[in-house]
């Protein structure tokens, strides 16, 4: 087996360094081509977000609502209401994150080159380099970044109209929103 050489590691680092997240697009903007779907597939929950606070803490969960003064995120423990002034940036998951599966494909693909005999000398590095590039693509396309005051942000929330009065009805953590099977 041929292990990664220093040059590949440098290349990986260089390619990794290329990874930067795009600013959040308004939900009105098209990202692909029209396709067919059933009503059961229409999302009813907010997008997943990672809220990076100025104090270096991070809150992850479903975006419940966003307005000019605060962001409301349902994380694993609670419904967190975070003042906009405390937020550094908000990373919104706009598409499924496939970087893990790309990394898996890269590993499998690299391993599979053992069947290439001596051609492995060429195909294994090709897999590693291309895998890193693909991972970079997969990582950047799945998330976009916004400031807490970004006017596009509320459209990604469960309640784009803002927090409904009286919700949640108790101090208990609201149930996690799942795409309810309605079919």
């Amino acid at each position: 087996m041929i292990g990664p050489r220093p040059s590949f590691l440098l290349l990986a680092a260089a390619l990794g360094g290329c990874a930067h997240q795009r600013p959040l697009l308004p939900r009105e903007e098209a990202r692909g081509g029209a396709t067919a779907a059933s009503i059961e597939e229409v999302p009813t929950c907010g997008h997943q977000v990672t809220v990076s606070l100025k104090n270096q803490q991070v809150v992850e969960g479903e975006l419940i609502a966003a307005d000019a003064t605060a962001l409301h995120v349902l994380d694993a423990d609670r419904l967190a209401s975070i003042a906009a002034a405390e937020i550094d940036r908000v990373t919104v998951r706009v598409l499924p994150n496939s970087s893990g599966s790309v990394a898996g494909a890269m590993v499998l693909g690299t391993i599979s080159t053992v069947s290439n005999g001596y051609f492995l000398v060429f195909t294994a590095p090709l897999w590693i380099i291309s895998g890193i590039a693909a991972w970079n693509v997969a990582s950047t396309r799945s998330s976009e970044v916004a400031t807490p005051a970004d006017p596009a942000l509320p459209a990604y929330a469960r309640f784009p109209q803002g927090m409904p009065p009286g919700w949640p009805p108790t101090s208990a953590r609201p149930p996690t929103c799942l795409q309810v099977p309605v079919g």
Binding site: P43, T44, P96, S101, S115, F119, P164, P165, W167, V182
Partner: protein, 508 residues
């Protein structure tokens, strides 16, 4: 590509493009055609997802078919829904989009490139590299393939000792280093490996003839060579520039050919020196046998495994056709069999001597080789004058074995024949060092290896399972070789390139 698709879970992602607007704006009336779904967000956090909707005449109520959820997104109802616009906080049209995953394209390109190599092996796995342990000599970057061990030992029942002449870089020092590799989809079980050394006579060589080792002096190049493909003189001269390989029979892979050679008269007793290796024909036949065994190959090999060596089936018919070339010499009583060159293996060249009778007629020495067409690659045939009687070789045991740069004492003891066999899998490599005492620094060296190997089944072979054909292969080699001729002829032209490109290397 299938692995890629399964791993990545498809080539596109779903995205929901959305437009939001207040219920009291005119946009609702224009939203329908492009957006198949409408989400109505209630002031209380509830949600209605509508598939088809309409506004009543006065524009105060929204109605349609769909689902209603509370603020926790618990399903409340399904079916016809009517909503007063006054209860709604926001409306949202949803349009599904298919977003292409560009990382799949990136990996797709590299998959396509590497798959081209794999497909060569997958569609034609009988062409891919295989043949027991390979041995290399020389420094990294300048390695030379010198031998392949026990190629005929395809199961434990066939465990055998194989002796190969080895042509190593000279001058030799006080030790010689060989690398043993497993470069194929096989498991090797190596019982032992050692060198046999015989001091060379001044200006001469030592050749093996069966289990005898003959010192030789002057070597005479052939004057003429003619085989099935025509003049072969340039191919068999000792300069190493050519290699004679005829085409296999079109209708019968057992078809024989005669290669006729003439040599100047030697001044003393002589022997024919032949350096050759197999083409991939017998490898193909072996792999085809495994393919015909298909799912029963394991069971069959297990039976062979458990057979004592004296009960294992004899493959004498096969041995003559695919593993031996007979040497005949013109004597006073006509063409007479002098002996044979026997070797199995398509990778390393083997050199052997066939001693010729002493009472040859005066003048040119005429010999002919009878061999199976397309099964042999001859790159050197010469007439060597014998420099004395057969001599006994000195056995030289390894003093060090290294694997991945570290000493491997266990492997060393196993190659000495102690304990269980040394097992190697594809990609394994060991560097073996042998001492060379002062008296053996210019010796002729032979590698003696003992063991057996198990060929790995390829998935593609299973579809060819045909037990009756496998039985026929054993019982009636002649008929089987006629049956296999068309398949071999179809791949004969390009098989070498695929074979040599598919071996698996490793750094010891």
């Amino acid at each position: 590509m299938a692995v890629l698709a399964v791993t990545l879970g498809g080539c596109t992602d779903r995205y929901w493009q959305a437009r939001l607007f207040k219920p009291d704006t005119p946009e609702l009336k224009q939203a329908g055609p492009e957006a198949p779904f409408l989400k109505a967000h209630g002031k209380d956090g509830s949600l209605a997802v509508l598939q088809s909707w309409s506004l009543d005449a006065d524009g105060g109520r929204l109605s349609g078919q769909g689902f209603r959820f509370d603020a926790d997104r618990k399903l409340l109802s399904r079916g016809p829904i009517e909503l007063p616009l006054a209860d709604l906080a926001l409306l949202e049209t949803n349009r599904p989009e298919s977003v292409y995953r560009s990382e799949v394209a990136v990996l797709g390109v590299v998959t396509g490139a590497t798959l081209a190599v794999a497909i060569l092996c997958a569609t034609n796995p009988k062409a891919c590299f295989g043949s027991c342990p390979t041995f290399y000599a020389g420094s990294p970057g300048d390695e030379r393939l010198i031998a392949e061990g026990f190629s005929a030992s395809i199961a434990r029942a066939f465990e055998a000792t194989d002796v190969d002449s080895i042509d190593v870089p000279r001058p030799l020092g006080d030790a010689i280093e060989l690398t043993m590799r497993n470069e194929a989809l096989e498991t090797h079980y190596v019982r032992s490996a050692r060198l046999l050394a015989v001091p060379r006579p001044p200006g001469g060589r030592v050749y093996r003839a069966g289990d005898q080792y003959f010192p030789t002096g002057r070597e005479l190049a052939p004057l003429r060579c003619r085989g099935a493909e025509g003049d072969c003189l340039a191919d068999v001269l000792a300069d190493g520039s050519g290699e004679y390989l005829s085409h296999a029979g079109v209708a019968d892979l057992a078809e024989q050919e005669l290669i006729e050679l003439a040599f100047p008269a030697p001044s003393r007793g002589s022997g024919l020196v032949i350096r050759a290796r197999n083409s991939l024909l017998n490898t193909f036949v072996f792999y085809q046998g495994l393919a015909w065994l298909g799912g029963k190959a394991g069971e069959t090999m297990a039976r062979l495994e458990t057979m004592p060596p004296d009960q294992a089936p004899a493959f004498t018919g096969w041995e003559r056709i695919l593993a031996r070339a007979e040497v005949e010499v013109w004597t006073r009583s006509g063409w007479t069999i002098a002996g044979s060159f026997g070797e199995i293996g398509p990778i390393a060249r083997e050199t052997q001597l066939v001693p010729l009778p002493a009472d040859l007629p005066p003048g040119e020495v005429k010999v002919r080789l009878q061999l199976t067409r397309g099964n042999w690659k001859l790159d050197r045939v010469s007439l060597a004058e014998l420099a004395g009687p057969a001599v006994e070789p000195t056995a030289v045991q390894a003093f060090e074995v290294r694997r991945q740069g570290a000493a491997d004492a266990v492997a060393l003891s196993r190659l000495h024949g102690q304990g269980p066999r040394l097992v190697s899998v594809p990609g394994d490599a060991w560097t073996i060092r042998f001492p060379l005492p002062a008296g053996l620094r210019d010796a002729e060296l032979f590698l003696e290896s003992r063991g057996y190997y198990i060929e790995w089944m390829r998935e593609q072979w299973l579809v060819e399972e045909d037990p009756s054909a496998a039985v026929a292969l054993l019982r009636d080699p002649a008929a089987s070789l006629r049956h296999l001729a068309p398949a071999w002829k179809q791949m004969e032209a390009g098989v070498e390139e695929i074979f040599w490109g598919s071996r698996m290397g490793a750094t010891p």
